[in-house]
């Protein structure tokens, strides 16, 4: 049953800053490339799920793509927006409702940290007004506590960032393509202790589209279909430590990443040891470190050794964020989760060029995390 949805086409508009190009136009470019990759026309698509948080209603795209009358549903789900569009497309095909469709995500954010406004109508916004409500603060607090608890050092944070920019330098679609040494990462401006500027990703722009088809029809479109074994989104439970929370419970429990990861592994019938390449949410370096353990790839605290041994490099035991992750690509929220899947499809097809993971990877993993405490995981296989 789990083999019945395939990804048969992928398309991406480069991430970064694109003056004069709307977010939706970037989404449109991604869709055209994905259709071309699958050898189909826009008019062949029976349905679409579109995700964007800050760049307009995705279904308006039909006026530039073609008024074919297809079912087009918009998805907005925080940082899991792209992943949720994908899950919706996956379930649509699994249900038997349609055979061929697209999941598209795009975005275009203003420069600098995300502006979060939580004021109620007619009331002063005390939360952001007081200088809280910054996602960067959450990541600083979480990794700061984690480092103390599990003995992770700033060197590990620098290693993660340096790896991201090195991988990004081999990715023509990445925003940041200049490699930085660990020393340069450590010496950049301290933004939210213990995290420096080059340890953080930036909100950005970009678009990604994936064409999905029934697995038994996949070979009509491609000779290298990649199968979506599971796609899961989970929200937070009582007691978890989440971004943008004016208060937390005294109880402490695992966050939505742990829940989404377990459910995705179970649905796919594989375990962490089966994964050949992983794209993990790296809003900042510390997030990648913590998410390695939260997704089941190691125990808490083991990351220090794993990173020092280079095991998450492209030629390592478990390559992580081979396309440079959020750190090198930036985070257009609607597209970010789909970018991870795009990269894994490339890797599983053997088409990732200079950053190709060696020895023909067969099973790949993606993970997004974000506001307001939501995680999305996918598992792909050849």
């Amino acid at each position: 049953m789990s083999d019945d949805v395939a990804i048969v086409g992928i398309g991406m508009h480069p991430f970064g800053r694109h003056e004069g190009v709307s977010g939706m136009e970037q989404g449109g470019v991604a869709v055209r490339k994905a259709c071309s990759d699958a050898g189909i026309e826009w008019n062949d698509l029976q349905f679409a799920f579109g995700g964007s948080v800050a760049a307009g209603q995705p279904d308006h795209m039909v006026s530039q793509m073609g008024l074919s009358g297809l079912q087009f549903i918009n998805v907005v789900n925080g940082c899991a927006t792209g992943g949720s569009a994908l899950i919706s497309a996956y379930n649509t095909i699994k249900s038997g409702a349609f055979d061929l469709g697209v999941a598209v995500g795009f975005d275009k954010h203003e420069r600098g940290a995300f502006r979060v406004q939580t004021g109620r109508q007619g009331e002063r916004d005390w939360y952001g007004g007081s200088g809280m409500a910054l996602t960067t603060q959450f990541f600083g607090m979480k990794i700061n506590r984690y480092m103390e608890e599990y003995g992770i050092t700033q060197d590990s944070l620098a290693r993660v960032a340096s790896k991201a920019f090195r991988n990004g330098s081999m990715n023509e679609n990445a925003w940041r393509r200049q490699a930085f040494s660990e020393e340069e990462v450590l010496q950049s401006q301290m933004l939210s202790y213990p995290l420096t500027q080059y340890m953080f990703c930036s909100p950005g722009e970009g678009g990604v589209a994936l064409i999905l088809a029934r697995a038994d029809q996949a070979h009509e479109y491609t000779d290298r279909p990649i199968f979506l074994k599971s796609a899961v989104v989970r929200s937070r439970r009582y007691g978890s430590f989440e971004v943008l929370a004016p208060s937390l419970a005294l109880d402490y429990t695992d966050g939505p990443t742990v829940d989404a990861s377990r459910a995705a592994f179970e649905a796919a019938g594989v375990g962490p040891e089966d994964i050949d390449v992983a794209q993990l949410q790296d809003t900042e370096s510390g997030a990648e470190v913590m998410h390695m353990a939260e997704n089941g790839f190691c125990e808490h605290g083991e990351q220090e050794e794993i990173l020092a041994r280079g095991e998450t490099e492209i030629n390592g035991k478990l390559p992580v964020n081979t396309d440079g992750g959020c750190l090198a690509n930036g985070e257009p929220v609607g597209a970010s989760g789909l970018r991870q899947v795009y990269e894994n499809v490339l890797q599983l097809r053997g088409g990732a060029g200079r950053r190709q993971v060696p020895d023909e990877p067969k099973v790949a993993y993606t993970h997004v995390y974000g506001a307001p405490g939501i995680s999305g995981v996918t598992i792909l296989s050849t």
């Binding site: 600098g112 502006r115 952001g128 007004g129 200088g131 213990p194 937390l248």
Partner: protein, 141 residues
């Protein structure tokens, strides 16, 4: 010109300092800040408004090193004049962990587990020229 609370629905300004208004669930004793109409722990809507404690221990912290965007920020956003400030969670015994500004912005002076208490902190002037006061936590001296 005097001092006014940044938002009276979440914080009263008393002669003894700020007092925060939280939610307590009458069914399971869970607390949430600010006040809301339902309990996320047991799902009951049998909740009441209570005053939160004023002392606790530091649970997690960071230092805000760049000026937040305005809006929503009501404080200093000029990079030349901006001064970094601490942000953390303080565990209030028997209630919850509250997210708050900290009066300390020096990483060597902050340690999880240290005793902290609530104080008022002026963010800036309001439309009428009053001092707009929010809450912060300071080490107990």
């Amino acid at each position: 010109m005097g001092q006014v609370s940044i938002n009276e629905n979440v914080m009263d300004l008393t002669p003894d300092g700020p007092r925060l208004k939280g939610m307590r669930c009458r069914q399971c004793n869970n607390h949430v800040f600010p006040m809301q109409k339902g309990c996320p722990k047991c799902t009951s809507d049998d909740v009441e408004e209570v005053q939160l404690g004023t002392r606790g221990t530091l649970w997690a912290w960071t230092i805000q090193g760049f000026p937040p965007k305005a809006p929503p920020y009501l404080g200093e956003t000029d990079p030349e004049k901006f001064k970094p400030y601490g942000v953390g969670y303080i565990e209030l015994p028997g209630q919850l962990k509250i997210e708050s500004r900290l009066t300390i912005a020096d990483p060597t002076a902050l340690k999880n587990g240290m005793e902290m208490e609530i104080v008022g902190e002026t963010i800036g002037p309001d439309e009428e020229g009053n001092d707009l006061v929010t809450f912060a936590f300071a080490p107990v001296t």
